[in-house]
Every structure is written in C-alpha cells, then in structure tokens.
C-alpha cells in the first residue's frame, strides 16, 4: 500500500481518446498516471513507468486484451489489474478471474466505481 500522501502509480491501457481524457481529468489528483493505447505501449510502460496498478481495456487495436493480460502476468505475476470491457460475454470474465489478482468492470461504468476498484485491488 502506498504511504500517506504518495499517489499510487496507475497505468491506464485504453485506446479510446474520450475515455483517456475522462480518466485524466477525473483521476489526476488521485493517482500518478500514465497511459498506453496499445498492447505494445502497455508492455513498454510496464517497464518504464513501473506501475502499481493497471487499468486494462480488453479491446485494443493491436492485441486481444486477454492475451495481453497473460503476457503481463509473465512479467508481473501479481500486479493488480482492473479489467474494463464492453463485451457482454461470460468467457472473458472467466479468463480474467482465472488469471488472478484482477477486478472486472463492464462499460459503461461510473468513474467513482472504477476508483473504488483501483483502490480495492492490491490494497
């Protein structure tokens, strides 16, 4: 857990520009933020930014989000991940739970709800 007054480092992996803007406005005072728009950027930022929590959208332009999460788990086995998705399918939910240390949030969601999940995972 972060020390009092120290913002947690959160990497948002999200390709929708509007959502990135919303995250930036809503969370900038709360978290130390970085963004990735693709799976490749996410893997790069995982090393460069060294986040404590990830927020991962399952639909990315260059990779399937589940496949990306599997790659992330190979590098950072227990990093907390909040998965966001617009998919209404049971399979991704089950995959995410199988991979562990993750929360799951179906779009559309309230940003307060996302904040609660970010704060809850790995706390």
């Amino acid at each position: 857990m972060a020390a009092a007054g120290v913002k947690r480092k959160v990497l948002f992996i999200e390709d929708e520009a509007a959502l990135q803007s919303s995250y930036a406005r809503f969370f900038s005072a709360r978290y130390d933020m970085s963004f990735a728009r693709t799976g490749a950027e996410a893997m790069q930022q995982l090393e460069a930014f060294d986040p404590e929590v990830l927020v991962l959208d399952l639909r990315l332009p260059d990779t399937d989000g589940i496949a990306l999460l599997q790659r992330i788990r190979q590098k950072r086995a227990t990093i907390p991940v909040v998965v966001t998705t617009a998919y209404v399918s049971m399979e991704p939910l089950m995959h995410v739970l199988d991979l562990g240390h993750s929360a799951y949030l179906v779009k559309p969601f309230d940003l307060n709800e996302l904040a609660a999940r970010i704060d809850a995972v790995g706390a």
Binding site: V88, S89, M90, E91, L93, M94, L97, A103, Y104, V106, E113
Partner: protein, 226 residues
C-alpha cells in the same frame, strides 16, 4: 424459440432494461442472476408480453400461448381445490375437454398432488402450493417457461423437487428462463447464464459445466455488491 433483440424499457427516468439481447433454443435453460432492482422481473414481463418494451423486439415461437409463467404468486384461487383451479386455467387457455382431463390427471400425478387434488389450495403447504402453481403453469402444455424466483419460500426438499421437475421439463424440450438473485439456487438447472445489473446483461454465455461456487465468484466480480 425465444429471442430478445436490443430490448429497452424505462419507468420514467429509471432505465429498467437497456439493450437486452439473447436467443434461447428449445431444451435450453437460461438462468439470469441479478440483485433486487436489476430489471429481472421487468424482463420476464416483457418476454411474457405483459409489458410492451419501448425499444427492441421479442420473438417467441407460438406467441403468448406458448408461455407458462411461475412467479411469486401462485395465481391459484385459495377457496377452490387444486383440480378446480386446473380446470379453470385450462378453460382460460381453451384446452379442449378430453385433452384437459388427461392433462390435469397427468400433472396431478406427476407433481405428486394426488392426495391434494380435491383439497382447497388455501390449505396446502408452501411446497404443495408451489407444485400446484407449476401444474397451473403447465396445464396448456407451454413450450417456454418463465420462472420468477421460483425457489423463494421453499424448503430444501421442495426446492430439490422443483429442480428435478424443471430438469425433466427442459429435457423434454422446453425452453426456460429463470431469474433469481441467488446463484446457488439456479446454477444446477442452467445451460446458459446471464448476470444482470442496472437493466443490462454484464455477462452472458453457456454455463459450460461451471459450478455454483465459480459462478458466484464471477457474479460478485461482474455485478458487485460483495
């Protein structure tokens, strides 16, 4: 056999259903899990044709007569006997007389109500009344069953009996939609699962052999509320 496409409905500013889409074939049982207020009963009413949705379409082979509804209320008349109730409901569905009598006798036997057939419904136990309600729902031989929290108020034995019966009905080719807030209650029956929150499906797919504990974990994650 039963399908919903982009179904939406609101009560004033409250969005009760939002973009509900699914298809259910004969012999399949869809269990819809969601907390109180998620829109489950509204969805069942839309499927039953009791509410006309403001958005989207529902298609049902055989129309409304194909539906058997089991809800919170038995829809039986307390002062009438079980047999009289079944006769009354058969007449509402225009079940012709020779077939009606055979159907009534078959259901009374199948549901273990032989000793209660001539008993007033208001004197039945909760489990017996629920079985009578199921007989009422099946009197016109519906091909689709809509079940709203069917296990509520049943003891363990009666709930197990109901699960067995519903399993038999599905095996005989009926399509069933079951809504409940309790994942433990409906999982065993289900071929397909949906989690519902705030009028929307947040997960939908085949159960694929997953047990109640696994699904309960997934439900808490997808729907929230611990």
């Amino acid at each position: 056999m039963l399908s919903a496409r982009d179904v939406g409905h609101a009560y004033g500013s409250l969005r009760a259903l939002d973009g509900i889409t699914f298809t259910l074939d004969r012999g399949r049982t869809l269990a819809i899990f969601g907390p109180n207020g998620a829109g489950k009963t509204t969805l069942l009413k839309v499927l039953a044709g009791l509410i006309h949705p403001q958005q989207g379409t529902v298609q049902l082979a055989g129309g409304r007569r194909a539906i058997g509804w089991i809800g919170h209320q038995s829809q039986l008349y307390g002062p009438l006997t079980v047999a009289e109730n079944l006769r009354f409901w058969a007449s509402l569905y225009d079940v012709p007389e020779p077939a009606r009598r055979a159907r009534q006798d078959e259901l009374i036997e199948r549901l273990g109500l032989g000793r209660q057939a001539d008993q007033q419904v208001r004197t039945l136990s909760r489990g017996q009344a629920q079985r009578a309600a199921i007989a009422r729902a099946l009197i016109h031989d519906p091909s689709v069953l809509l079940l709203d929290e069917p296990f509520t108020g049943l003891d363990r034995v009666a709930a197990e009996e109901l699960r067995r019966l519903l399993g038999e009905l599905a095996a005989a080719g009926r399509a069933t939609v079951l809504v409940t807030h309790n994942v433990e209650e409906g999982t065993e029956l289900a071929s397909d699962i949906a989690f519902m929150r705030a009028g929307q499906f947040v997960a939908l797919g085949p159960r694929a052999g997953r047990d109640a504990a696994t699904l309960a974990t997934a439900y808490r994650e997808a729907v929230g509320g611990g």
